[in-house]
Subunit: 695 residues, 2 copies
Amino acid sequence: MADLTGLFAPERVAVVGATPGEGSVGRAITANLIEGFSGEVVGVNPNYGTVLGVECVDSLADAGEPDLAVVVVPPGIAIEVVREAGEVGVENVVVITAGFGETGSEGATRERELREVAREYDLNLVGPNSLGIMSTSVGLNATFGPDDALEGNLSFMSQSGAFITAVIDWANDQGIGFNDVVSLGNKAVLDEADFVEAWNEDDGTDVVIGYLEGIEEGREFIETAREVTRDTPVVLVKSGRTDAGAQAASSHTGTIAGSERAYEAGLAQAGVLRAESVQELFDSAQMLANQPLPEGESVAVITNAGGPGVMSTDAVGDSRLSMASFSEDTLERFRESLPAEGNIYNPVDIVGDADIERFADALEAALSDPNVGMALVLSAPTAVLDYEVLAERTVELREEYDKPVAACFMGGERVAPAAELLREAGIPNYFDPARAVDSLDSLARYREISAREYDAPTAFDVDRERVRELLDRAEERGDNRIGVEAMGILDAYGIPIPEREVVSDPVEAERVAESIDGEAVMKIVSPDIMHKSDIGGVKVGVPESEVYDAYEDLVARARNYQPDATLLGVQIQEMVDLDRGVETIVGTNRDPQFGPLLLFGLGGIFVETLEDVTVRIAPVSESEATEMIDGIDAAPLLRGARGREPVDETAITETIGRLSQLVTDFPEIVELDINPLVVTPEGATAIDIALTVEQ
Amino acid sequence: MADLTGLFAPERVAVVGATPGEGSVGRAITANLIEGFSGEVVGVNPNYGTVLGVECVDSLADAGEPDLAVVVVPPGIAIEVVREAGEVGVENVVVITAGFGETGSEGATRERELREVAREYDLNLVGPNSLGIMSTSVGLNATFGPDDALEGNLSFMSQSGAFITAVIDWANDQGIGFNDVVSLGNKAVLDEADFVEAWNEDDGTDVVIGYLEGIEEGREFIETAREVTRDTPVVLVKSGRTDAGAQAASSHTGTIAGSERAYEAGLAQAGVLRAESVQELFDSAQMLANQPLPEGESVAVITNAGGPGVMSTDAVGDSRLSMASFSEDTLERFRESLPAEGNIYNPVDIVGDADIERFADALEAALSDPNVGMALVLSAPTAVLDYEVLAERTVELREEYDKPVAACFMGGERVAPAAELLREAGIPNYFDPARAVDSLDSLARYREISAREYDAPTAFDVDRERVRELLDRAEERGDNRIGVEAMGILDAYGIPIPEREVVSDPVEAERVAESIDGEAVMKIVSPDIMHKSDIGGVKVGVPESEVYDAYEDLVARARNYQPDATLLGVQIQEMVDLDRGVETIVGTNRDPQFGPLLLFGLGGIFVETLEDVTVRIAPVSESEATEMIDGIDAAPLLRGARGREPVDETAITETIGRLSQLVTDFPEIVELDINPLVVTPEGATAIDIALTVEQ
């Protein structure tokens, strides 16, 4: 793990390319750095002795061993400056300079060089093409943006510099502060995983937020973030969710569009709270940064306004939260204190004439109820209610009971001073009850993430050597779509396949048919005959008594079709009873960012027409495999819907787990579909398989 | 249609129950009325000569023929006051008084009396249990709320008085104004349909918005709103969407929870834009109130910030909008004017160093492109850009090209003056690009509604008499679940049923079997034997040669099972070839608010497990029936998915239409399920039916 102390808390910073030129980036950064930074600043520019009153030296070697170099020189020189930084022992570099990977092939070459130099000297390098970084705890603003950020406990990374500029201007107005801010730029060296990891160790950061257009090292990100999100919430907007958005992202930062399905799965497995809009990003972040996690998911709504109370209840219904059921003691307390036209059940309607005492009493009763995980204080303006006093009491009670509280004091100017009091105490106030409920929902979402146990993927006992051999054999043949051997590959990894044997005479065929239950499926085995069914080379439902004749017939058809074909024999396979089973599909393909993706769904129309599938990045744990099954809409069909016997779900879980191990062990498998995997009450059997390897 | 001129533009208003008592509702209303009202105010209270300087008379008869009486007396007297109003010719009454239907059975009785009196005198009565009404065009504030509303072109009705108070305080702060505001109260006489209709005729109202918890006269509302929404957008929050919300609504206003499915269908059929939150309600309303409707659904995004550009593109992907494809001319213009690192395709990235001229040029190029329906101006703050000037140019261009424009000038304090300029010109500014896109989406949604052609339900040629007879016969028998005759009812309404005949000897059975294609289904007909399959009273797939024996066997089984059962014979029915067909369900049940609800879905798991159904309120037009088919997720299965021949969808449309006519003609049919309706490429056949009548 990279130690980023020198990046975010440097004692001495050199601006390479410092200049007094009006309107220049070099000037803007120097000016921002001078203002408020607790450490020392030195300029590097052979053309000046001082810049904006700061000492300016000729080269980094003369800069007095800075911890951080901010590079604002033209792209052609930037690489040499970075090399010099490495030579003289500067460990942290922020490359503001643009003109690298974002500008075409020449730039891409330059960026590869830059990365190599940084790796050679083991530099912590941010950028290139970055707006810069900020660290409010030491007053560091090493960006060329127009504003300083307020101090706070959010750390923020963004793949868009313009978004940082916009957010900081807005956040200053909203009173939202940051600990560190990083404009990721082209992420030549340090990327989102590095910052997520570093901020997890940082006492000043309570919540990590970010805007990303792509995650190149998807698997690495999942592994890092999964650990981090146990302790530190990570909330991200990952744009390019839609086809149009992905295209726009590609044109903006050259991000290769990974599949949205892979991102969705990967971010969920990583424990990241994904926000779909800027509003959701900050609503979630503020709540997570300032309030405790709830014990449960039940909400009490205390309101003097019936209609908005109903709206908030709808919002709870739309979320993962539930309306709390009060204990008998609490109901009794409400019965005594509320007027008859009120409502003692949740949402608690304390009626429009409620004064501050009735409001505070009701809130206290709710918060002291062990059945209540969190509360929403929802109020319309009335003549008898002073919003500022209500805000004070709300803040006191939130702290006393240490349960999350959201506020929806409705109104405009009348609310402003109360909203300010609430905000200072970490209680955001929204006009819209639904937004207040959503902010509580993000606490519940994160509570679930922080509480989840991560079980490592099961290591099944498998025959890896056999698969190696089968794949090598296919490679020798130059096949990249594997037919017959693919079943052997599943078998080697313990995935049940129908009992089957390849025989080379009709008597042997009868012997095999005897050993299997019921009817048989018989199939010509020949590497020279591709479309076996087309020539009548497949027979289904052959009873034992007809196996001898069927053998002879199949061989005759093959000979007839292609006299010189190599005949390896006839495969006899047990018939799987589809009537008692459900056809499922377990598949995998490879995502450029995240590696092997596992897919599960029911067969036929469910996958093809309804797209009712779940996806996870491999390797998956047993609980993740279980989630894949639970996640499809048609899951009830596995569980005895319509009077059928429930199927053996653990057999599916195990198949997913074994397939996960297979595709993780053999990266050359780029696509594999078990279609169908028939699941009965007794187990699962892979009936057919298509496998593609990359050679 | 009620003429509400005297309600919203009275020349003289009487406050019955005017009083100077501090903190009283009567005082609050009198005070609000005095301030700013262009007409005359008179108090009615025998205890005072004047109230707050206003003349006070003993009774309404002495009040000088007011157009409007506002009633603030106790509930026991209120009815008499309303009667007096009727007697002396006051046409409009607002009953503020509470203690009616919302308070239990005594109150409900009182409310019925109030309604009768109002009907007797044909009064326009608002309330009871109302906060009052406002009409800004005449300076009328006949509420006891704390604030006056600003003038504007929204008219607003709400079933929650507290919500009105909250909204007006907030709207005053946001600069949002209203034409009329109505607190609906218990809706004893005037309800949402009346106001929607009146505001459609009102030049001062451009958009109708509202908060409703229930719509009692659902069918009437649909009919009224369907006409209104062709010209005037109606945006509503209908709460109680979720189970918890419906329960809360019931406890708040005593609203009987209609089914959410019925509301969803009814509001859509009515052309109402349904908002799911307060934020969405006002974002949509402001856009609709101030901007033209777009020609198409394509959006151009012009931005100096790549990241937010990608976010806005995702938001477009989530909406019904599409990213505009520019004409070659426009692209050429961008190629000439934009720097190489920009993006000439949509979202148009004019790059961070763009000055006002580059921004305005790009916006103009986009707006002048016939492929562009609307535009989003999306900007991060930069040193070279003056937001106020950008706002001015945006306003000019929006007006010049008369296309909708949304703004997302990101930032905080820096944006405020520009946002104010934009707001004054009817362009809302949002920090979140997604919210700006959603506001454009509401214009596209309404454009679709205003453009839709309403085709009246088809009047099919049916045999109404025969159904009347069959239903009467069932009533005589005291049956409310109808078996055998139900197929006759479908037949009478032209819904295809299998060819069938009831016969009473085996020779006749053979004759019938000859006349039908293929195998037969044979079934005992006896009112005394309920579960025919259990006793072997049903035979499926009987070939012609076995019909004679099958007849004898069926009769023997029936006799054996119950010797004294009345045997009406044996039904012979053609077998429908399920292999080429898709099983669907067409059903109906009766909603307390909206009347008969029609439901369509595919059979089996699709309805039961996946709940993949669409619902509409009957009667439906042909295009509504088509929408029902298009609306299910599994629709591709009707259209040749998985290599099957597409089925005859028009046969489904017609069946829905005929069923719609049936349940509209016979309100005593409370439930009817055709399950399955088998649809093949050649047509549809109702195989089984369950029908319940209310007697």
